[in-house]
Subunit: 135 residues, 2 copies
DNA sequence: CCCTAAAAGGATATAAACAGTCTTTTTGGT
DNA sequence: ACCAAAAAGACTGTTTATATCCTTTTAGGG
């Protein structure tokens, strides 16, 4: 359980690759896709999402491409993952306790909150700078 | 992401209910299902899985039903969850590093291992005794 | 021995999510 | 004007989730 989807895995690979490049250099989507071994059309969708929320900057037309939206040390793995996979939610009741009428006296509920917190802490503690291969 | 499925949620509800009963009393599936608000046919499938690995004991025929396979303090939430949802695997490479040819010099890989470890620790630290409503 | 209660097992149905492709549009550079 | 590249949206095939039947097996009680 708790498996990252392909999309999530691809997203990380792609943006980590970007983080390994000079901050001011734009990269072609096709180059990134090839480098990280991801279907280009799929990676395009992912980077569109990134672009919308500013995680990456995109440039169209000739000489266009992508670069990081912020310095790599200011982007956490948590942000990247949540951008494409949605929030870390071990159980629906963590997001909306009112959904489950049992939540008031449920002893399991706090466990899921704790799981969420731990996972967020691990992922939030890692930046793209830590992850880029050539630091 | 990382969401528990209905099956997992139902499984926990069902077995936690059992844990709240006397250890030597068998409970009808239909009663459990009604008490925890789960479709009986679905819960049946779940308890069949539990039964196979000994998490619960089942008795057929008149006067049959289910009871815990072990004392509630000896069953962890981790066991219950993994029984129905499979192992905690934030990413496939955690189970099979050889699947990904990048795993040798991938800085993300150890992060997923850490996530797995943290989650397992949280879930493994909670027993059914802790979870049962009337202790 | 038969009847009934109850779980086990297997087959099926529906819907949602995942994984990816294709086509068209917009934008920027030359 | 033309070309290069990303954006946007529609579309498809596959797999997983969420169940619901139906039949079979097992056990107890009269
Ligand atoms: S029963 Fe408890 S753990 Fe399950 S959804 Fe409700 S509050 Fe959450
Ligand atoms: S690239 Fe790294 S994190 Fe992704 S699957 Fe391979 S080893 Fe795991």
């Amino acid at each position: 359980m708790m498996e990252l989807t392909r999309k999530g895995e691809y997203a990380i690979r792609g943006i980590v690759y970007l983080a390994g490049k000079q901050t001011d250099k734009v990269c072609l989507l096709s180059d990134i896709a090839e480098a990280v071994n991801v279907p280009p059309t799929f990676l395009a969708k992912i980077f569109q999402q990134f672009s919308k929320i500013g995680l990456v900057k995109s440039y169209r037309g000739t000489g266009g491409g992508f670069m990081l939206g912020r310095p790599p040390e200011q982007i956490t793995l948590l942000e990247v993952v949540e951008a494409v996979e949605g929030p870390i939610l071990p159980n629906r009741c963590v997001a909306a306790p009112t959904d489950c009428e049992r939540s008031c006296d449920c002893n399991v509920h706090p466990v899921w909150q704790r799981v969420q917190s731990e996972v967020r802490q691990v992922l939030g503690g890692v930046s793209l700078k830590d992850l880029a291969i050539c630091k």
